[in-house]
Amino acid sequence: MAAFASGDPPPSLPGPLTDVPGDPVRGLEVFRDGSKATCLICHSVSGLSDRDQGVLGPLLDGVADNYSPEELRQRIVDARVVSPETIMPPYFSTEGLFRVAEEWRSKTIYDAQDVEDVVAYLMTLRSEP
């Protein structure tokens, strides 16, 4: 399974998208939310008791040890910036999409606060407390 892409960081990493600091508790709810293309379709977190977690994407244990909030935000907003062939959906971009159903057209999977809250949750995933 592909690991997170390494190498040079993308030219401009997005800063916080809202003025409200991310809430990790709400972030976990969004992370799990089936109506928001739950991260658990593809990713797993050992600390969560959710059944049938995903195996298509990297395990997210300790993800905050290796990535800054900016880097994580970048991957959630639009992972194509980091790896163009990724199968990870763009959670906060509508760019370059084809035949989006009318219900979802011009809408993103997450809103700005969802992104901030999920980043805040991911930043709690450290192997060393």
Partner: protein, 253 residues
């Protein structure tokens, strides 16, 4: 024993992944309990289509007094292998058609009746009945140039990312089949068992209903039933799944 079977199964799947060309029926990715439903005609919830289909087969479906049976007197012999080779180029119609389109062309033509709606019980019943006569026979490719070029167009559709989730058919059913998506194993997206009874739907559906379902689940605008795009996708999937045995009416989760 069970662990051994599972280990063997995983090895087979792994070997198949290595030899990329091997087509594997969705049946192989199902839980044993779901397989049992398909294996036993007394348990298969799609089997009722055969009775309905048989009734339609011998009944006038239009102004003409003839029925399907009037010409195709021995259904088992006359229809054997037919469903396995659609979509196919049809000389009378001068174009490539799906099995559903061919059935409707016969109803509207020779039987002087009204074409059946996509996903209507009647069209599913006739498709299932004709499909059943090909059970155990391999899906075949039509070598007609029109069919070949349609299949090429279908390949493009298969490979094109779409929807809010920005996924192509290929992303899951070619690059990640055999892997788990939540509780379920991703299949190759083969179409040899249709029409199917799908447990998720608690209903029967055609190949194109499955396409619609998949596209909607990635939040993409599906194509219309009977569209050139869906026909092309069907044609490509027959090419891709060449040799798989027809399982109609199949059962899927």
């Amino acid at each position: 024993m069970r662990a051994l079977v599972l280990a063997l199964y995983v090895t087979l799947i792994g070997a198949a992944a290595f030899a990329q060309s091997a087509a594997i029926s969705g049946y192989e990715f199902m839980e044993p309990s779901t397989r049992e439903l398909q294996d036993d005609d007394f348990l298969n919830p799609g089997i009722f289509l055969l009775d309905e289909g048989s009734a339609l087969w011998s009944r006038p479906l239009g102004a003409a007094s003839e029925t399907c049976q009037s010409c195709h007197t021995d259904i088992a012999a006359d229809m054997a292998g037919v469903a396995a080779r659609y979509p196919a180029y049809d000389a009378d119609l001068g174009r490539v058609v799906s099995l559903e389109m061919k059935i409707n062309a016969e109803i509207a033509g020779r039987l002087r009746g009204k074409p059946l709606e996509y996903e209507s019980d009647d069209l599913l019943a006739l498709t299932a009945l004709i499909g059943y006569q090909s059970r155990g026979m391999p899906m075949e490719i039509d070598s007609n140039p029109q069919a070949v070029s349609l299949a090429e167009k279908g390949k493009e559709i298969f490979q094109t990312r779409r929807g809010q989730l920005n996924l192509s058919c290929q992303n899951c059913h070619e690059q990640h089949w055999g892997e788990k998506l939540r509780g379920d194993t991703i299949s190759q997206g083969q179409i040899n068992a249709f029409p199917i009874y799908r447990l998720t739907w608690t209903d029967v559906g055609s190949r194109q209903r499955m396409f619609v379902w998949c596209m909607e689940s990635i939040r993409s605008e599906p194509y219309e039933y009977g569209s050139d795009e869906f026909l092309a996708l069907e044609a490509y999937l027959v090419v891709r799944g060449q040799g798989l045995l027809i399982e109609a009416p199949g059962v899927r989760r």
